[in-house]
Amino acid sequence: MTAYILRRLALLIPVLLVVAVVVFALVHLTPGDPAAVILGDRATPEDIARLRTQLGLNEPLPVQFVHWFGNILRLDFGESIFLGEPVTSALRDRVAPTLQLTLYALTFQILIGIPAGVISAVRYNSPVDRALSMVAISGSAIPTFFLGILLILIFAVRLRWLPAGGYVPLEDGVAAHVKSMLLPAFALGFSAAGLLARMVRSSMLDVLREDYVRTAFAKGLPHQLVIIRHALRNALIPALTVLGVSVGALLGGAVVTETVFTIPGMGRLIVQSIARRDYPIIQGAIIAIAMTYVLVNLLVDVLYVYIDPRVRLGSD
């Protein structure tokens, strides 16, 4: 087990390096002088020269990269050009809404996806199965931002039950916080639930054909007990990998959802920073989100090996 974790950690090094190179390249892919692009048309040559020095653009590229990468490892992403504060502190203020949104969406995904998949598999090929499968496949066809707009149209514009956007921190009241996050979390979680439901359905179908499930039924155990304790527990193992990948989709989706619902999180900051050409912010936020995603997947893989001994025996 320890050897497995160490090997997985070693595999992270090239991934980290590629992530760093890509994010570093962002500034240098811009057509023309990055400093001039960032400052816009009205910048004086002196301003441009000063920014070039601030961003270290006068050094040779490899030197710039090593310098920049060293800073990143110390979690120093530089100064925001527009906000006039360190990138780290700008990100810290916006982490909570993004993480909350992702977590709530994950909850919706699990609460909708797993029961839907189980019911589909147990009622295999029935009208219920077909209806649920259709909902699942439609769910993954609706882009989060469009589902968000539809929900706003129904629940905010027509029914006026929930706010059309905005964010209330948890500290300012649980009820108001829940009200502000309900629609965005559902929009984000529902699309992801479709994928999970399809995965749970197919792995449940495989497990239900296993001998030990037949034995459990044959010895007269109650139907629900067999489904939940014997079948579902094993069927959830492959579903776990989907959840790992989902976190990436949810984090990415959060970027878009925050814009739809005007939630002041990291995603909205990235989108706003694109228009302001605030590259240090874009770079810092993207590295932070990519690293979260990589670490969650590592955690899921380790958990997977821990839960399913067959994987452990096969890999070592």
């Binding site: 090239p14 390096l17 814009t259 694109i274 990589v294």
Partner: protein, 297 residues
């Protein structure tokens, strides 16, 4: 012999191949949902091709006299806040979406197949190629696309570049995994023993053998790419904001959601229907092309 030929379609001669295609087509069209999906996509493709002949108005023509009008006979799907015809814009938007979706997939399939074949066939190249692609896959896909768009600037070509970067790794991984399996097959060994070069083996045996899963995957990549393009445009980091695209229309539509629901609803519906039918078609293709699903429920 019969078993071997059903597993390796490439070993079939042309006249033996034809009934297989017609079997696939029959299997696909037997399911009403799949037949309807194919029909819808064909319609969407034709509408995109012949957009100038189908649209009653110029999609970029501003007519302040008819601002924010609901659906009517003059304007089937209403007008937007600058008096442009929503129906015409939805049709032209489909043009952009389909063109980007299909070309992203085509280019990503070309590059991805090449990388996957090299990586799966030559063990020396496997490590560097796969580790690089792993690094690209460490970004949530839409985030990588946003990042690339942030540095390249908004334009359709840049969306194309960004999405090719995003979807190439997925395809390369798939092709690599089928290549790894095919490489071990006896017919590859025999091809090598009669002195065929690696290039001939790759192009004549290995690549065609992994074609069915690739085709299935490509159907889904078209759908993903269309969603991503719409998301980028919606965020203002995609195709030029003035160009009629579904994502741009949804962004404009959300601003006036209170008074004009049709502005966001119709481009959104077009987007959902296109992605949904692509997914249904991909599922059906997978069932039709995968020998394991034959006789399974």
């Amino acid at each position: 012999m019969a078993v071997a030929s059903s597993l390796h379609p490439v070993t079939l001669r042309a006249e033996e191949r034809r009934p297989r295609w017609s079997r696939w087509a029959r299997a696909l069209l037997a399911n009403p949902a799949t037949a309807l999906s194919a029909l819808f996509l064909l319609g969407a493709l034709l509408a995109a091709l012949f957009a100038p002949f189908l649209t009653p108005h110029d999609p970029t023509f501003l007519d302040p006299a008819v601002r924010l009008q609901g659906p009517s006979t003059a304007h089937l799907l209403g007008t937007d806040d600058r008096g442009r015809d929503v129906f015409s814009r939805v049709i032209y938007g489909g043009r952009v979406s389909l063109l980007i979706g299909v070309s992203v997939t085509f280019i990503a399939a070309l590059i991805g197949s090449l990388l996957g074949l090299l990586s799966g066939y030559f063990s020396r190249l496997d490590m560097p190629i796969m580790r690089t692609l792993d690094g690209l896959m460490a970004f949530p896909s839409i985030l990588l696309a946003i990042a690339i768009m942030a540095s390249l600037g908004t334009s359709a070509i840049n969306v194309l570049i960004a999405l090719v970067v995003v979807y190439t790794p997925t395809i390369a991984r798939l092709v690599r995994s089928t290549t790894l399996v095919t490489r071990q097959q006896t017919f590859v060994e025999s091809a090598r023993s009669i002195g065929m070069t690696d290039r001939q083996i790759l192009l004549r045996y290995v690549f065609p053998n992994g074609l069915s899963p690739l085709i299935v995957q490509c159907t889904f990549v078209v759908a993903y790419a269309i969603i991503s393009e719409a998301s980028l445009s919606f965020l203002g980091a995609g195709v030029d904001p003035e160009t009629p695209t579904w994502g741009n229309m949804l962004r404009d539509g959300q601003r006036v959601l209170q008074s004009a629901w049709w502005l966001a609803l119709f481009p959104g519906a077009a987007l959902v229907l296109t992605v949904l039918t692509l997914n249904l078609l991909g599922d059906a293709l997978r069932d039709a092309l995968d020998p394991r699903t034959v006789g399974r429920g």
